[in-house]
């Protein structure tokens, strides 16, 4: 395979991790976050600092996940107790604050970012395999959680918080847990990205990325892990095939997001379900 193919596979794996972990927060548990890119970025920077300081790959990845999850915990803690839609506002703020903050920090390389990050030592092929294995593990985790009682309760929280409370579900704890797990996976994806590019800049983690990830989740179908995986693959490959999409990313994804919400709120997964239902009837 060519270097380009390995790089594409790596990006696919990272986007699958980001989209399915956001789905865990928004799809399973009904909390809309438009700041997932910031937690991804926090993990990437944390892992980069570790790598530059000479720590081994597993440590840097673990620190990336911990920093992403810790930041997620703090942001979640500050907003889950408030009104249901408050998280959207907070996470948009976090998205802009993160990039604005990093741009001004000399120790994070400011606008120039962090370069000369040591290689993982696995080579492009090894990196791609490592990333795809983590993506597979993330999918497995999401599928498992969705079948467990945790996922069962998440769905209740997503449906109706007050009703969930009246059947003894501690709603705030569940929301915070979903948010922390999801942002930790984003942080881990950030660490993987660090080793993949060996060069990170603030602009890789902007609000546009967060909107793109939300588009993957909504287009795939909120709550459907496989739907979101497919949407992540499509939305990663399309801009590669058609360069103009990249130039108008925010416009196109934003537009598609609105159209899906209006006309097919179940996303790809919803469309697949209704088609199979109709075929079975016929």
């Amino acid at each position: 395979m060519t270097l380009y193919a390995y790089s594409l596979l790596s990006i696919l794996g990272i986007n699958i991790m980001l989209a399915t972990s956001l789905n865990l927060i928004s799809g399973f548990c009904g909390q809309f976050s438009l700041g997932h890119g910031a937690f991804y970025g926090a993990g990437a920077y944390a892992a980069a600092l570790c790598a530059v300081a000479g720590y081994p790959v597993p440590v840097a990845l673990l620190v990336g996940a911990l920093v992403g999850g810790a930041l997620g915990f703090v942001v979640g803690f500050a907003s889950v107790r408030l009104r249901e839609d408050f998280l959207v506002v907070t996470t948009i703020g976090v998205s802009f604050l993160f990039v604005g903050f990093v741009r001004k920090q000399k120790w994070l390389g400011a606008e120039m970012g962090i370069s000369k990050i040591p290689a993982s030592g696995l080579g492009p092929e090894g990196n791609a395999i490592m990333i795809l294995l983590f993506a597979a593990a993330t999918i497995a985790l999401c599928l498992y959680l969705n079948r467990s009682w945790l996922g069962f309760a998440f769905r209740a929280v997503g449906d109706d918080e007050q009703a969930a409370r009246t059947i003894a579900i501690p709603v705030s704890t569940y929301k915070l847990l979903a948010f922390t797990i999801g942002t930790a996976v984003a942080g881990l994806a950030g660490g993987l990205y660090t080793y993949f590019t060996q060069f990170i800049v603030p602009d890789s983690f902007t609000f546009i990325l967060s909107v793109t990830l939300m588009a993957m989740v909504v287009i795939g179908g909120l709550g459907s892990t496989w739907g979101v995986v497919i949407a992540a693959i499509i939305l990663t490959l399309l801009p590669e095939a058609f360069r103009f999409i990249n130039d108008y990313r925010l416009l196109i994804y934003g537009g598609v997001l609105m159209l899906v919400m209006r006309f097919a709120p179940g996303g790809l997964a919803g469309i697949a379900t209704s088609v199979t239902r109709r075929l079975r009837k016929a």
Binding site: S148, R155, A156, A164, T166, I167, A168, P170
Partner: protein, 253 residues
């Protein structure tokens, strides 16, 4: 033994004094009816008991313990179950799953426990039992979005019963049921009460209420205006005044 004790509870919404110094107790094993015209404050009182609203003054005690500051989920774990007047099913689930999730309250009360459990057969069996009890047998696999209001009202009751409560407060569970169905549902509640469940029933269906409850409480304009045996309360001039004066809106409830 006192199961529920409400002490000088008051609450105000903007310009509306919804409840004023409300006091009452419910003993273990009682079947109490709570009536009052529309807007009297019945649902507000239920929400305060359940911890959905916090009163401006006063306190709520469950089994002798002050729970005024306790969140809803913790009160439910202490044995309190409620049903909603405006039904609130989990829309993405079947009738059975709605109830099975409630039956798994011991698992879901801690998310870490929930993460390491996946089998549902025991809770589903218990849920099916509760659904049969309220007259929803055969509808286990229905999406709740396809159910008529009367069935959603029954689902509220099934879901609450699946929590193994020691006291249940029901907010107009008979609305949406016809005469025969309401009668059967009231009989079900009476049977549960005979088995030891303490019940507070908020209802506009006075015929059923007087038939099954052994004590009536009357709220009017946020104040408790009567408390006693049903026959006695119903002949109280103040109660008749509250109802006759507002006969129109009580029918619309």
């Amino acid at each position: 033994m006192t199961t529920l004790h409400v002490e000088s509870v008051s609450i105000r919404f903007g310009g509306v004094q919804a409840l004023t110094d409300v006091n009452f107790s419910v003993q273990k094993g009682e079947f109490v009816g709570l009536i009052g015209p529309n807007g009297a404050g019945k649902t507000t009182l239920l929400k305060i008991i359940a911890g959905i609203l916090t009163p401006d003054t006063g306190r709520v005690m469950l089994e002798g313990e002050d729970v005024t500051r306790l969140p809803t989920a913790k009160r439910v774990r202490k044995g309190l179950a409620i049903t909603h007047q405006i039904v609130r099913p989990f829309r993405s689930m079947t009738t059975l799953d709605n109830t099975a999730l409630a039956a798994g309250y011991k698992i879901t009360s801690n998310p870490l426990t929930a993460a390491f459990h996946w089998r549902r057969s025991q809770q589903s069996a218990r849920a099916a039992e509760m659904l049969a009890k309220v007259g929803l047998a055969g509808l286990e696999d229905r999406d709740v979005s396809a159910l008529p209001l009367g069935n959603l009202k029954r689902l509220e009751v099934a879901r609450a019963l699946a929590l193994d409560p020691s006291i249940i407060i029901l907010d107009e569970p008979l609305a949406g049921l016809n005469h025969r169905e309401a009668e059967r549902q009231a009989d079900t509640l009476a049977a549960l009460n005979a088995e030891g469940l303490t019940i507070v029933l908020i209802e506009h269906n006075l015929r059923e209420l007087v038939r099954v409850s052994k004590r009536l409480l009357v709220l009017d304009g946020g104040k408790m205006i009567a408390d006693g045996e049903p026959e006695h309360v119903m002949s109280d001039p103040a109660v008749r005044e509250a109802y006759v004066g507002k006969a129109d809106d009580h029918a619309a409830a």
